[in-house]
Symmetry: C2
Subunit: 205 residues, 2 copies
């Protein structure tokens, strides 16, 4: 592209580094910012800078946090004997949005993926084991993606957790609520038949 | 969404103000920035702030510029007797990318659009007339979108320019080069028949 301004070109180049943002989208975003008040753009810029400089990882669960220990880990209302192991912050947010979980979390920071060069040592495994040693934990729930990487990570962690006297569970897999049977993919449907559960009236939506 | 961090929530809210960026995309962009080096994020933030604070409008053609007079308007290599009237900066860039135009520009900053409350007084019309009075301009080319707003703007400007002894032209409209006839929309095809031009060998790609 032919830019009339170096400032414009630099800003477009910076936006185009973001995932899923090409040159044309970057230009559109930059021109949008140019139409905003100076104070608004200053706030945009300052918020990003502040975020990167001030955000911390909770030293208990390793979730993103404003404080050394996050709100969930420091809350007396949560059940600290129940730890849900997730891949990243987005998963914590997704589970929190359900309002169905009252335990605490442990953020692994990734999944084992030999193809991407991510091994167990790249994940927050030791910090999880330390938590189990130092605290009274009754159950670990694996809430990882139902992919090869997720399953590999669960397999590995399960072996490491054998020495502890803890209940280990994974979130249920099967057809989604509201899903019509004919549109469910074959693997999910096949597995959901194989892993069928006894019908009880209490298992309802 | 349930954010574990206020800093994160603020940054997502700022990104979600951008056009075409929703909460989920904003979160993805923010988490991407959190994975970058602090210096890279600082550069991103500083570039945006610098852009908004330092960019200027060329005082001749009103295009975005790093200097009081833009590179095109200050270039002795350009034909200053030929002014191409466009809607905004993006159109200047699009025409510059063709490498087919050697004149200068005039950026209106919009098109007349009563539906959006944009009238002639919101556009850079007076500055265009001043340029014509003070300089030796031979031709004005309207390179505006082939829409109701573009046509209205051309109609208005043409009336205002009547008193000057200047050639007025618009960019050609018709079927696109490389376009297959059967896929051309009816209005374009109909108009391109009505406005047919004499065949000459020089009119080739």
């Amino acid at each position: 592209m032919n830019f009339s301004s170096r400032l414009l070109e630099d800003a477009v180049a910076e936006f185009a580094k973001l995932p899923g943002v090409g040159q044309k989208t970057a230009l559109r975003l930059v021109l949008h910012l140019l139409n905003q008040d100076k104070s608004d753009v200053e706030k945009f810029s300052a918020t990003i800078s502040k975020l990167r400089n001030e955000i911390q990882f909770c030293r208990v669960c390793l979730n993103l946090s404003d404080h050394p220990v996050c709100e969930i880990c420091s809350s007396p209302k949560r059940d600290h004997t129940l730890i849900c192991v997730v891949e990243d912050t987005r998963d914590v947010m997704a589970i929190e949005n359900t309002n169905q979980y009252n335990g605490v979390y442990h953020v692994l920071g990734g999944l084992i993926s030999p193809m991407d060069g991510i091994g167990p040592s790249d994940l927050e495994v030791d910090s999880l084991l330390d938590r189990l040693k130092e605290n009274d934990v009754k159950e670990i729930i694996f809430a990882l993606s139902a992919t090869m990487e997720g399953d590999t990570t669960i397999f590995y962690l399960d072996k490491r957790l054998k020495s502890f006297n803890i209940t280990i569970s994974t979130i249920a897999r099967g057809i989604a609520f509201g899903g019509e049977l004919e549109y469910v993919d074959e693997i999910t449907l096949g597995r959901s038949i194989a892993t069928r559960v006894p019908y009880t009236n209490s298992v309802s939506r």
